[in-house]
Symmetry: C2
Protein backbone atom coordinates (compact mmCIF):
# COMPACT_ATOMS: atom_id res chain seq x y z
CA UNK A 1 0.00 0.00 0.00
CA UNK A 2 1.65 3.16 -1.19
CA UNK A 3 1.37 6.22 0.97
CA UNK A 4 2.12 9.54 -0.65
CA UNK A 5 4.32 10.87 2.12
CA UNK A 6 4.06 10.50 5.83
CA UNK A 7 4.36 13.59 7.95
CA UNK A 8 7.62 12.27 9.27
CA UNK A 9 9.01 11.96 5.78
CA UNK A 10 7.94 15.49 5.01
CA UNK A 11 9.67 16.74 8.12
CA UNK A 12 12.86 14.82 7.39
CA UNK A 13 12.91 16.04 3.84
CA UNK A 14 12.34 19.65 4.84
CA UNK A 15 14.91 19.52 7.61
CA UNK A 16 17.49 17.97 5.33
CA UNK A 17 17.01 20.66 2.74
CA UNK A 18 17.22 23.53 5.22
CA UNK A 19 20.07 22.16 7.33
CA UNK A 20 22.16 21.50 4.22
CA UNK A 21 21.41 24.93 2.81
CA UNK A 22 21.82 27.05 5.90
CA UNK A 23 23.53 24.94 8.53
CA UNK A 24 22.42 24.12 12.05
CA UNK A 25 22.25 27.52 13.69
CA UNK A 26 20.57 29.40 10.88
CA UNK A 27 17.81 26.83 10.50
CA UNK A 28 14.87 27.23 12.87
CA UNK A 29 12.33 24.66 13.91
CA UNK A 30 9.72 27.12 12.71
CA UNK A 31 11.16 27.15 9.22
CA UNK A 32 11.36 23.36 9.18
CA UNK A 33 7.71 23.05 10.16
CA UNK A 34 6.72 25.63 7.55
CA UNK A 35 8.78 23.97 4.81
CA UNK A 36 7.26 20.59 5.68
CA UNK A 37 3.77 22.04 5.80
CA UNK A 38 3.10 20.75 9.29
CA UNK A 39 2.79 22.36 12.67
CA UNK A 40 5.76 22.75 14.92
CA UNK A 41 4.13 20.49 17.48
CA UNK A 42 4.17 17.69 14.94
CA UNK A 43 7.87 18.13 14.46
CA UNK A 44 8.36 17.73 18.19
CA UNK A 45 6.17 14.66 18.28
CA UNK A 46 8.62 12.92 15.95
CA UNK A 47 11.89 14.32 17.23
CA UNK A 48 12.73 15.15 20.80
CA UNK A 49 14.49 18.41 19.98
CA UNK A 50 16.48 20.26 17.37
CA UNK A 51 19.74 18.53 18.22
CA UNK A 52 18.26 15.09 17.80
CA UNK A 53 16.65 16.02 14.53
CA UNK A 54 19.91 17.41 13.20
CA UNK A 55 21.94 14.42 14.33
CA UNK A 56 19.45 12.02 12.77
CA UNK A 57 19.37 13.85 9.46
CA UNK A 58 23.10 14.28 9.13
CA UNK A 59 23.81 10.76 10.31
CA UNK A 60 21.62 9.52 7.49
CA UNK A 61 23.49 11.71 5.03
CA UNK A 62 26.77 10.15 6.11
CA UNK A 63 25.38 6.68 5.52
CA UNK A 64 24.12 7.81 2.16
CA UNK A 65 27.58 9.00 1.20
CA UNK A 66 29.02 5.72 2.34
CA UNK A 67 26.66 3.89 0.01
CA UNK A 68 28.16 5.59 -3.02
CA UNK A 69 31.55 4.02 -2.43
CA UNK A 70 32.70 1.17 -4.63
CA UNK A 71 31.97 -2.30 -3.38
CA UNK A 72 32.87 -4.45 -6.33
CA UNK A 73 36.15 -6.29 -6.62
CA UNK A 74 38.74 -4.34 -8.53
CA UNK A 75 39.19 -5.51 -12.11
CA UNK A 76 42.63 -6.79 -12.99
CA UNK A 77 43.38 -4.08 -15.51
CA UNK A 78 46.46 -1.96 -15.76
CA UNK A 79 47.11 -0.20 -12.43
CA UNK A 80 46.90 3.19 -14.15
CA UNK A 81 43.45 2.36 -15.43
CA UNK A 82 42.20 1.12 -12.08
CA UNK A 83 43.61 4.07 -10.16
CA UNK A 84 42.21 6.51 -12.66
CA UNK A 85 38.82 4.92 -12.38
CA UNK A 86 38.93 5.05 -8.59
CA UNK A 87 40.17 8.62 -8.76
CA UNK A 88 37.32 9.59 -11.04
CA UNK A 89 34.86 8.15 -8.58
CA UNK A 90 36.52 10.03 -5.72
CA UNK A 91 36.51 13.41 -7.35
CA UNK A 92 33.05 13.12 -8.86
CA UNK A 93 31.44 12.01 -5.63
CA UNK A 94 32.92 14.79 -3.50
CA UNK A 95 31.98 17.46 -6.03
CA UNK A 96 28.28 16.58 -5.94
CA UNK A 97 26.47 19.69 -4.70
CA UNK A 98 24.81 17.74 -1.91
CA UNK A 99 28.10 16.18 -0.88
CA UNK A 100 29.66 19.66 -0.69
CA UNK A 101 26.85 20.77 1.61
CA UNK A 102 27.20 17.73 3.83
CA UNK A 103 30.92 18.29 4.06
CA UNK A 104 30.52 21.93 5.00
CA UNK A 105 27.74 21.44 7.54
CA UNK A 106 29.24 18.40 9.24
CA UNK A 107 32.60 20.11 9.50
CA UNK A 108 31.03 23.28 10.88
CA UNK A 109 29.24 21.38 13.63
CA UNK A 110 31.86 18.75 14.39
CA UNK A 111 33.06 20.56 17.53
CA UNK A 112 29.49 20.49 18.88
CA UNK A 113 28.55 17.10 17.41
CA UNK A 114 31.83 15.18 17.61
CA UNK A 115 30.19 11.85 16.86
CA UNK A 116 28.93 13.27 13.60
CA UNK A 117 32.38 14.30 12.46
CA UNK A 118 33.72 10.84 13.21
CA UNK A 119 30.76 9.20 11.48
CA UNK A 120 31.38 11.27 8.37
CA UNK A 121 35.02 10.34 8.27
CA UNK A 122 34.31 6.69 8.84
CA UNK A 123 31.57 6.53 6.21
CA UNK A 124 33.40 8.59 3.61
CA UNK A 125 37.18 8.92 3.39
CA UNK A 126 37.86 5.94 5.61
CA UNK A 127 35.91 3.57 3.42
CA UNK A 128 37.64 4.75 0.30
CA UNK A 129 40.98 4.51 2.05
CA UNK A 130 40.32 0.89 2.97
CA UNK A 131 39.45 0.10 -0.59
CA UNK A 132 42.62 1.75 -1.88
CA UNK A 133 44.77 0.07 0.75
CA UNK A 134 43.64 -3.35 -0.41
CA UNK A 135 44.50 -2.54 -3.98
CA UNK A 136 47.88 -0.99 -3.16
CA UNK A 137 48.82 -4.00 -1.07
CA UNK A 138 47.95 -6.19 -4.03
CA UNK A 139 50.11 -4.10 -6.36
CA UNK A 140 52.95 -4.43 -3.89
CA UNK A 141 52.48 -8.18 -3.66
CA UNK A 142 52.50 -8.43 -7.45
CA UNK A 143 55.78 -6.52 -7.53
CA UNK A 144 54.36 -3.59 -9.45
CA UNK A 145 54.65 -0.86 -6.86
CA UNK A 146 56.66 -0.61 -3.70
CA UNK A 147 54.18 0.24 -0.99
CA UNK A 148 55.79 0.44 2.42
CA UNK A 149 52.94 2.24 4.13
CA UNK A 150 49.70 1.42 2.32
CA UNK A 151 47.49 3.58 4.50
CA UNK A 152 49.67 6.63 4.10
CA UNK A 153 49.98 6.20 0.35
CA UNK A 154 46.24 5.71 0.05
CA UNK A 155 45.56 8.96 1.90
CA UNK A 156 48.16 10.82 -0.13
CA UNK A 157 46.64 9.58 -3.33
CA UNK A 158 43.22 10.73 -2.19
CA UNK A 159 44.57 14.13 -1.21
CA UNK A 160 46.30 14.57 -4.52
CA UNK A 161 43.15 13.64 -6.41
CA UNK A 162 40.49 15.45 -4.53
CA UNK A 163 42.00 18.37 -2.65
CA UNK A 164 42.60 20.87 -5.47
CA UNK A 165 39.12 21.09 -6.96
CA UNK A 166 37.24 20.06 -3.86
CA UNK A 167 38.65 22.88 -1.77
CA UNK A 168 38.21 25.51 -4.45
CA UNK A 169 34.56 24.61 -4.82
CA UNK A 170 33.97 24.61 -1.09
CA UNK A 171 35.40 28.09 -0.65
CA UNK A 172 33.71 29.43 -3.75
CA UNK A 173 37.12 30.21 -5.24
CA UNK A 174 36.62 28.70 -8.66
CA UNK A 175 34.23 27.16 -11.11
CA UNK A 176 33.61 23.43 -11.28
CA UNK A 177 36.27 21.81 -13.47
CA UNK A 178 35.34 20.69 -16.95
CA UNK A 179 35.50 17.07 -17.99
CA UNK A 180 38.81 17.65 -19.68
CA UNK A 181 40.27 19.41 -16.67
CA UNK A 182 39.30 16.47 -14.50
CA UNK A 183 40.79 14.16 -17.08
CA UNK A 184 44.05 16.06 -17.09
CA UNK A 185 44.20 16.17 -13.33
CA UNK A 186 43.57 12.45 -13.01
CA UNK A 187 46.14 11.56 -15.64
CA UNK A 188 48.80 13.66 -14.00
CA UNK A 189 48.03 12.45 -10.49
CA UNK A 190 47.96 8.79 -11.45
CA UNK A 191 51.15 8.96 -13.49
CA UNK A 192 52.94 10.88 -10.76
CA UNK A 193 51.77 8.41 -8.16
CA UNK A 194 52.54 5.26 -10.11
CA UNK A 195 55.90 6.42 -11.44
CA UNK A 196 56.79 7.72 -8.01
CA UNK A 197 56.17 4.39 -6.33
CA UNK A 198 57.42 2.04 -9.02
CA UNK A 199 59.58 -0.73 -7.73
CA UNK A 200 63.15 0.49 -8.04
CA UNK A 201 65.59 -1.76 -9.88
Amino acid sequence: MVKSSTKKELIVSAARKLFLEAGYGATSMDSIAAEAGVSKRTVYSHFKNKENLFAAIMGDMCDLISGTNPNEPIPANEPEQVLKQLGLHIIESVMEPEALDVFRVVLAESPVFPELGKAFWKAGPDVMKGFLVDYLVELDRRGILQINNPELSAFQFMGMIKWPYHMRLLFGAGKPPTKSEIEESLDLAVSTFVNGLKLKK
Copy 2:
Protein backbone atom coordinates in the same frame (compact mmCIF):
# COMPACT_ATOMS: atom_id res chain seq x y z
CA MET B 1 52.93 56.22 24.66
CA VAL B 2 51.77 52.74 25.42
CA LYS B 3 48.09 52.18 26.05
CA SER B 4 47.12 48.98 27.77
CA SER B 5 44.29 48.09 25.45
CA THR B 6 41.72 50.22 23.75
CA LYS B 7 38.10 49.19 24.02
CA LYS B 8 38.14 48.42 20.34
CA GLU B 9 41.05 46.07 20.76
CA LEU B 10 39.26 44.35 23.60
CA ILE B 11 36.18 43.91 21.46
CA VAL B 12 38.15 42.57 18.51
CA SER B 13 40.03 40.17 20.70
CA ALA B 14 36.89 38.89 22.37
CA ALA B 15 35.01 38.57 19.10
CA ARG B 16 37.87 36.70 17.50
CA LYS B 17 38.03 34.22 20.33
CA LEU B 18 34.29 33.56 20.39
CA PHE B 19 33.75 33.47 16.63
CA LEU B 20 36.61 31.02 16.21
CA GLU B 21 35.39 28.84 19.06
CA ALA B 22 31.70 28.75 18.30
CA GLY B 23 31.19 30.11 14.80
CA TYR B 24 29.04 32.96 13.60
CA GLY B 25 25.55 31.84 14.58
CA ALA B 26 26.34 30.53 18.03
CA THR B 27 28.18 33.69 19.06
CA SER B 28 25.98 36.51 20.34
CA MET B 29 26.79 40.17 20.54
CA ASP B 30 25.95 39.90 24.24
CA SER B 31 28.62 37.30 24.79
CA ILE B 32 31.15 39.37 22.87
CA ALA B 33 30.43 42.43 25.00
CA ALA B 34 30.66 40.35 28.17
CA GLU B 35 33.91 38.69 27.13
CA ALA B 36 35.39 42.07 26.25
CA GLY B 37 34.16 43.59 29.50
CA VAL B 38 32.34 46.43 27.76
CA SER B 39 28.72 47.26 27.19
CA LYS B 40 26.94 46.11 24.13
CA ARG B 41 26.40 49.71 23.08
CA THR B 42 30.15 50.13 22.89
CA VAL B 43 30.41 47.20 20.54
CA TYR B 44 27.86 48.85 18.25
CA SER B 45 29.69 52.17 18.42
CA HIS B 46 32.72 50.50 16.83
CA PHE B 47 31.01 48.09 14.46
CA LYS B 48 27.83 48.71 12.56
CA ASN B 49 26.38 45.25 13.17
CA LYS B 50 27.25 41.63 13.75
CA GLU B 51 27.92 40.89 10.10
CA ASN B 52 30.41 43.72 9.78
CA LEU B 53 32.17 42.69 12.94
CA PHE B 54 32.43 39.10 11.77
CA ALA B 55 33.65 40.05 8.31
CA ALA B 56 36.26 42.39 9.77
CA ILE B 57 37.55 39.82 12.23
CA MET B 58 37.71 36.95 9.81
CA GLY B 59 39.17 39.09 7.06
CA ASP B 60 41.99 39.97 9.44
CA MET B 61 42.50 36.30 10.22
CA CYS B 62 42.91 35.56 6.53
CA ASP B 63 45.56 38.24 6.22
CA LEU B 64 47.26 36.85 9.27
CA ILE B 65 47.41 33.42 7.69
CA SER B 66 48.81 34.92 4.54
CA GLY B 67 51.61 36.49 6.56
CA THR B 68 52.85 33.10 7.67
CA ASN B 69 53.63 32.02 4.13
CA PRO B 70 57.24 31.91 3.01
CA ASN B 71 58.56 35.01 1.33
CA GLU B 72 62.26 34.29 1.07
CA PRO B 73 63.90 33.07 -2.09
CA ILE B 74 64.20 29.32 -2.20
CA PRO B 75 67.66 28.04 -1.37
CA ALA B 76 69.40 26.13 -4.11
CA ASN B 77 69.53 22.86 -2.22
CA GLU B 78 68.49 19.48 -3.41
CA PRO B 79 64.88 19.54 -4.67
CA GLU B 80 63.92 16.90 -2.11
CA GLN B 81 65.21 19.08 0.69
CA VAL B 82 63.44 22.18 -0.55
CA LEU B 83 60.15 20.41 -1.13
CA LYS B 84 60.31 18.74 2.23
CA GLN B 85 60.94 22.07 3.88
CA LEU B 86 58.03 23.67 2.06
CA GLY B 87 55.87 20.67 2.88
CA LEU B 88 56.75 20.93 6.54
CA HIS B 89 55.72 24.54 6.54
CA ILE B 90 52.44 23.68 4.81
CA ILE B 91 51.42 20.94 7.17
CA GLU B 92 52.54 22.70 10.33
CA SER B 93 50.75 25.89 9.48
CA VAL B 94 47.41 24.28 8.66
CA MET B 95 47.48 22.16 11.80
CA GLU B 96 47.79 25.16 14.12
CA PRO B 97 44.70 25.12 16.34
CA GLU B 98 43.81 28.65 15.35
CA ALA B 99 44.24 27.86 11.66
CA LEU B 100 41.91 24.88 12.05
CA ASP B 101 39.29 27.16 13.59
CA VAL B 102 39.65 29.74 10.84
CA PHE B 103 39.32 27.05 8.22
CA ARG B 104 36.18 25.62 9.79
CA VAL B 105 34.46 28.93 10.45
CA VAL B 106 35.27 30.52 7.09
CA LEU B 107 34.13 27.42 5.27
CA ALA B 108 30.93 27.24 7.29
CA GLU B 109 30.02 30.83 6.43
CA SER B 110 31.33 30.98 2.90
CA PRO B 111 27.85 30.60 1.37
CA VAL B 112 26.69 33.63 3.37
CA PHE B 113 29.97 35.55 3.17
CA PRO B 114 31.27 34.59 -0.26
CA GLU B 115 33.94 37.28 -0.27
CA LEU B 116 35.36 35.77 2.87
CA GLY B 117 35.76 32.36 1.31
CA LYS B 118 37.55 33.85 -1.67
CA ALA B 119 39.76 35.96 0.59
CA PHE B 120 40.76 32.90 2.56
CA TRP B 121 41.67 30.98 -0.55
CA LYS B 122 43.61 33.86 -1.99
CA ALA B 123 45.52 34.56 1.21
CA GLY B 124 46.23 30.94 2.04
CA PRO B 125 46.41 28.13 -0.51
CA ASP B 126 46.76 30.45 -3.46
CA VAL B 127 49.85 32.14 -2.07
CA MET B 128 51.51 28.84 -1.33
CA LYS B 129 50.56 27.57 -4.76
CA GLY B 130 52.23 30.57 -6.40
CA PHE B 131 55.36 29.96 -4.43
CA LEU B 132 55.43 26.29 -5.40
CA VAL B 133 54.72 27.08 -9.04
CA ASP B 134 57.77 29.29 -9.24
CA TYR B 135 59.94 26.59 -7.82
CA LEU B 136 58.52 23.82 -10.00
CA VAL B 137 59.03 25.95 -13.10
CA GLU B 138 62.61 26.44 -12.06
CA LEU B 139 63.11 22.70 -11.59
CA ASP B 140 61.67 22.15 -15.04
CA ARG B 141 63.95 24.78 -16.53
CA ARG B 142 66.94 23.15 -14.87
CA GLY B 143 65.95 19.82 -16.40
CA ILE B 144 65.35 18.15 -13.05
CA LEU B 145 61.63 17.56 -13.24
CA GLN B 146 59.24 17.52 -16.12
CA ILE B 147 56.49 19.94 -15.16
CA ASN B 148 53.92 20.34 -17.89
CA ASN B 149 51.26 21.97 -15.73
CA PRO B 150 52.95 23.75 -12.82
CA GLU B 151 49.76 24.96 -11.22
CA LEU B 152 48.17 21.53 -11.24
CA SER B 153 51.27 19.84 -9.90
CA ALA B 154 51.59 22.47 -7.19
CA PHE B 155 48.02 21.87 -6.05
CA GLN B 156 48.45 18.11 -6.16
CA PHE B 157 51.59 18.35 -4.07
CA MET B 158 49.75 20.48 -1.54
CA GLY B 159 46.86 18.05 -1.43
CA MET B 160 49.15 15.10 -0.95
CA ILE B 161 50.99 16.83 1.86
CA LYS B 162 48.19 18.41 3.81
CA TRP B 163 44.97 16.57 3.15
CA PRO B 164 45.47 13.40 5.21
CA TYR B 165 46.22 14.86 8.61
CA HIS B 166 44.46 18.17 8.07
CA MET B 167 41.11 16.55 7.35
CA ARG B 168 41.35 14.02 10.15
CA LEU B 169 42.01 16.79 12.64
CA LEU B 170 39.17 18.93 11.32
CA PHE B 171 36.65 16.14 11.67
CA GLY B 172 37.98 15.02 15.02
CA ALA B 173 38.77 11.62 13.53
CA GLY B 174 42.30 11.25 14.78
CA LYS B 175 45.00 12.59 17.04
CA PRO B 176 47.55 15.13 15.87
CA PRO B 177 50.43 13.31 14.17
CA THR B 178 53.71 12.94 15.99
CA LYS B 179 56.90 14.51 14.68
CA SER B 180 57.99 11.18 13.29
CA GLU B 181 54.64 10.58 11.58
CA ILE B 182 54.91 13.97 9.91
CA GLU B 183 58.46 13.14 8.94
CA GLU B 184 57.42 9.86 7.40
CA SER B 185 54.54 11.45 5.55
CA LEU B 186 56.72 14.20 4.13
CA ASP B 187 59.44 11.80 3.05
CA LEU B 188 56.97 9.58 1.27
CA ALA B 189 55.11 12.42 -0.39
CA VAL B 190 58.26 14.16 -1.58
CA SER B 191 59.86 11.01 -2.91
CA THR B 192 56.66 9.96 -4.67
CA PHE B 193 56.27 13.40 -6.16
CA VAL B 194 59.88 13.84 -7.27
CA ASN B 195 60.30 10.32 -8.62
CA GLY B 196 56.95 10.56 -10.29
CA LEU B 197 57.86 13.70 -12.17
CA LYS B 198 61.50 13.02 -12.92
CA LEU B 199 62.52 13.76 -16.44
CA LYS B 200 62.26 10.52 -18.34
CA LYS B 201 65.33 9.32 -20.23
